[in-house]
């Protein structure tokens, strides 16, 4: 019965029926709420605040790192290097996919996919796309060295103590 009703309407080109308007509104409503819920779910699972580690931290006095030192600091994920009176803080996070590179006298080597870096962190082999970044070193008034991982500096810019 109602089919006939619709069919007539289509043929005669009469104004849209109430049913059509309702169907249209309903679909728009459904579609709209689907979009809104997808977006809001994404917003929900995206944390607003993260509690990362501070980017600036003290690592000790220069005397604690005698010339020839090449050691990695665990929590901070930087290698502290001292040659003579020149010092540097080089990231030990592999620029390929984030593994921690091993520190050796000859440079750095990554156990995950075989990236290799020279003593200054420049890529010498493997898939790493970038050299290991250098971070700014400074001497705080209390005589302790500070690394600022928020400040990347040019490779080879040594800090003289």
């Amino acid at each position: 019965m109602s089919d006939k009703h619709n069919a007539q309407e289509v043929e005669s080109g009469e104004p849209v029926s109430r049913r059509k308007v309702l169907a249209w509104l309903t679909s728009m409503g459904l579609f709209g709420s689907a979009i809104v819920s997808i977006v809001s779910n994404l917003v929900f699972i995206k944390p607003r605040a993260t509690y990362g580690k501070p980017t600036r931290f003290a690592i000790g006095t220069p005397e604690q790192f005698p010339p020839g030192t090449r050691i990695a600091l665990g929590d901070q994920k930087v290698a502290v290097i001292r040659e003579g009176d020149k010092m540097a803080a080089i990231s030990v996070v592999c620029t390929h996919l984030g593994c921690i590179v091993g520190v050796a006298d000859t440079g750095f080597a990554c156990p995950c996919h075989g990236s290799r870096f020279d003593q200054d962190g420049n890529v010498t082999g493997g898939p790493a796309p970038k050299p290991l970044p250098w971070y700014e070193l400074s001497l705080a008034p209390n005589g302790e060295l500070e690394v600022d991982k928020g400040k990347e500096i040019e490779s080879g810019k040594w800090f003289t103590v």
Binding site: L42, I45, K46, P47, T50, Y51, G52, K53, A72, G74, K77, V92, H96, L97, G98, C99, I100, G102, A109, C110, P111, C112, H113, G114, R116, G126, P127, P129
Partner: protein, 439 residues
Amino acid sequence: MVYGMSKNNQKNNFLNTVTEMPKAIWDSVFRNNLPHTDLGRSKTSFTNFFLHMHPVKVHKHTLKPWFTMGLGLMSLFLFMILSVTGVLLMFYYVPSTTQAYDRMLDLRGSVAFGVFLRNMHRWSAHGMVAAVFLHMCRVFFTGSYKKPREFNWVLGVGLFLLTLFSSFTGYLLPWDQLAFWAITVGTAIAGYAPVVGEQMRFLLLGDTAVGQEALLRFYVLHVAVLPLVMTGMVAIHFWRIRKDGGLSRPDDADIVITPMPAVAANVMPATIEQPQLNFLSKARYGIQGLVRGPFTKVGNVPDNTVFSYPNLLLAELFVFVLTVAGVVLVSAYFNAPLEEPVNVLHPPNPAKAPWYFLGLQEQVSYSAFWGGVGIPAIEVIILMLVPYIDRGKKGVGKWFAKERLLANTLFLIFVVVNILLIIIGTFFRGQNWEFVSPF
């Protein structure tokens, strides 16, 4: 039917109510006795849920063990074993970076069957990756993704990816060295995706670095989101198999029936009009529902089908017992790996993923973007488009059909290359991922 009869000659006194209760309860649950006649089999198929999920009758070709090798079923049963053992493990597991590892050790020390359950869960997961992949190979090499099964293949590719992602999220949970470095590397790969990469990595980790938030997120994905999505997709996968007329089979497996003239169809009230699928003009739609394929025997033609009960059910039971037995046996003799507790400064050297990701690991050791994002994305897209690219109608339902030489060869190359990458990653990579010889 059964209670209908007993109602008539039943006296509603207390004694009868009590004495007949067990039977009344039994009959209300199992509305038919075990069928021994064909009529009974049909009836039971409609009243029993587990039979109703199956067609009443199934083609003989489908039951040939070497056609499917039971691989899809095996995937399903492994998924079921994983769900059961996984829920049990949840009673003891805590998704906390400080507790997860200790909980794994507790399973060894203070939980009855703890290690065994963990073994079953881990080995079933490995088994499922293998079974799903082999199932995909079987579907390809038998040309079973062709019309009208194209979309079921696409769903299948989705299921394969979800299976891999479930395994990945699963082996992160013990929070051992493998877990930590796998999350680190895995989410870093996600970060290489164009445009949305960094956002995706942040959403996965819930933080800027790998830690508690990441563990919690992967836990939720592993125990709730992924299993639910997969259950839904498996249900649709199975539904479509039935609606596609059961499994594929070669043309010569059926007698070709010339389409009934429209007049004749009109006199058959129980026949449902055939939708516009003229490629299957031999199809009949009978009272058994809109099921493609010659399930309704029309006229005096040879019947190539047998009743699902007991034929198909027994075959399924056999695969089930085989799967469970295999998992139990392996779990009794081999313990699931547990590496050292997390050491954020020292990845294991070499840090190797489980075997099924070693091909990917080998790929990213050449290029993070191409190996981890670009090539896998291209592979997935091509896989999903396979049924829309290869539109030939020949060679369906036969292993390595001559007509499909090109398609099968290309797919074989894809399979072999991936297996080779896995072999290289497994045996030819040592300290610092350098080439070593296993010999």
